[in-house]
Amino acid sequence: MSLATLTKDWAPMSYGFLDASAKREIRRKMLKAVAVPGCQMPYASREVPMARGWGTGGLQVSLTLMNPFKRVKVIDQGADDSVNAASIRRFLARVSGAPTTLDTLEADLIQSRHRIPEEKLREDQVLVLQVPNPEPLRPVQPNMSIARQMHADADYGRMWLQLYEQIVRSGRVMQGASYPSLVNGRHVMTPSPIPRWDVPKLHMAKHLTILSAGREKRIHAVPPFTRVEPLVFDDVPYKVEAHGDLTCNRSGAKGFFMNEIPQDDGSSTYEISDSEFGVKTIKQAEGAPVEFGETWYTDGEMSS
């Protein structure tokens, strides 16, 4: 018996970068989060080789879930080729040896900053959303401990008051992205800065969504088939962004969330934000064999 036979060779990092203690912490907190939908679970967030605020929370969840066979897709603002998405995808592949994909249909794990793909996700897929600020009460209460007590008391009066005042002042709820939503009828969560367009996709979805904030060190989750209801007054309906009638300039895809591209003459053109969906649309028009999944929106409207 020698030290060499008793121990593994020294390596600069564990499989999937995170060591066993980190993965155990994150697994346990993910389970807790799934057990209490929409409730933020504090976790001991580790430093990873990426700056805080750039998706380290999502990255830690993905690293914990990764194995050499899990196909991973990474998007930022809906685009796979966005510089940060490309960097994260490269890192995940490098430390896990796992295959990567751009196609929503082929992915087992999708890590995303601020968008949910347009094609419906299945029960065998996991969506990991990057969260900058996990606390929906932050605008009415900057102190995390006080906010935590408010969640425990279901003390959401101030949250509703804010929405009321927005309608009084501007005639409508002015909340853009990160629309506060009631999960499983109990906890108010932020769905992360996804547009209003994407929030209905979380309601009674087939897939599991994990939301992770690395810097603020909180994980929350929306288990499959869980109610996610944006906070709205009964008589002032929820409004998604007015993109239902827009057409993508490059691919011709119609009725999906678009990026506005200002033009020299003061006008705007639009490009589909889910860039791979746009690519598939172009490929199909060119006659290549392409498979589309069912989409949440048809003809620019959320199908029930």
Binding site: P42, E47, A51, S145, S170, R215, S251, E260, I282
Partner: protein
């Protein structure tokens, strides 16, 4: 032509990294050694903020990042994440610190003496520009004193406690392995004392200074006096499985204890860190001093300063604003445009 999405982004980031690294050129072990020899205080600062004591790794981090401090600390912390925990060393008593520098502003002289140690405090801050013309700066030789200063000293606070001027915190005899570790557990408030002290030990120097300065200027309740400042070396006492306790080596540590008057007694604020970093210790100790009784939700409470002196988090979040935010922006524009349209339609005069 088919839309080729991915490669553009990946190629751009690859080249951007190369552009950054090109400036520093080849990184050799010689360069790392030079940095280690030339910049001990920078290395100390980086080790303290990374909460990882390894002068070679710290010098390497600085070499690799070209001296970009936030990047250097991040790369060390990321490394730290991957290292296995072998053991938790025994706590070190004040009297066992091998002390290089120990001063107190509270008394003119103290048991053990005021030992100035290495410091620029009383120097004239003048640039030695001759060096740039080729004339090396050779520091004058140190003239040793007749008797060496004592290497170990009792703490000032011990004398004050004996004279009933201060209530020292109760001795904490938690076993080393049971001490809460802020890098392994979520930080919740009110924070465990161990978590607070560890957070202050890892605090970013500029952040601690900014908030500490505000407290010193009157935003905090307590006005600090430096009771004791120490630059020392601490033995890392570990246990062999067969029971022997031995020193695995010494690390540089610095600590500051500040006091202020509270009724008939003094109250204490304390901070310590790896490496020698006086500005951080005094600032952090001042923050600690002011946190007791700070109003919930205020800028002097623990929750505020612990969150905002976390350098890796604060700098990361700061620079994250460079990331594309056009989707959230689009969502806001949509709400704004709709509200504007509503306002206009309401202003239309009725028939």
């Amino acid at each position: 032509m088919a839309y080729v999405a991915t490669r553009g982004g990946e190629r751009a980031i690859e080249q951007a990294e190369r552009l950054f690294r090109a400036e520093m050129g080849e990184i050799t072990d010689a360069r790392v050694a030079e940095i280690k020899a030339a910049m001990p205080y920078l290395i100390d600062r980086v080790m303290g903020e990374a909460s990882l004591y390894d002068e070679d790794l710290a010098a390497l981090a600085l070499a690799q990042t070209g001296g970009e401090l936030f990047e250097a600390v991040l790369v060390l912390r990321a490394w730290r994440t991957t290292q296995p925990r072998l053991q938790v060393a025994d706590p070190i008593a004040q009297e066992a610190l091998f002390t290089h520098r120990r001063i107190s502003a509270a008394f003119k002289d103290i048991p053990g003496g005021q030992v100035l140690g290495p410091t620029l405090d009383y120097s004239h801050r003048i640039l030695a520009t001759d060096v740039l013309s080729g004339l090396p700066f050779k520091p004058a030789e140190v003239e040793p004193a007749a008797q060496p200063a004592p290497a170990y000293q009792p703490s000032v606070a011990a004398w004050q406690a004996e004279n009933d001027l201060v209530d020292l915190p109760a001795v904490d005899d938690t076993a080393p392995e049971d001490i809460p570790d802020v890098t392994r557990e979520p930080l919740l408030f009110p924070a465990k004392r161990a978590h607070t002290l560890q957070s202050l030990a890892r605090a970013e120097t500029g952040g601690a200074l900014a908030l500490g300065y505000a407290a010193m200027r009157g935003y905090g309740q307590a006005h600090p006096t430096v009771n004791e400042l120490r630059l020392a070396e601490a033995d890392i006492m570990v246990r062999h499985p067969n029971g022997t306790v031995f020193s695995a080596g010494r690390v540089k540590v610095s600590q500051a204890e500040v006091v202020s008057k509270k009724g008939e007694k003094l109250e204490l604020g304390f901070a310590a860190t790896l490496g020698w970093n006086e500005v951080k210790c005094i600032s952090a100790a001042t923050l600690d001093l002011n946190s007791a009784g700070a109003e919930k939700g205020s800028a002097t409470e623990e929750e505020f300063f612990i969150y905002h002196t976390e350098g890796v988090e604060s700098s990361g979040f700061c620079i994250h604003f460079k990331l594309p935010h056009y989707v959230t922006f689009q969502s806001s524009l949509d709400a704004m445009r709709d509200a504007k349209a509503k306002a206009v339609s309401q202003k239309e005069p009725a028939e």
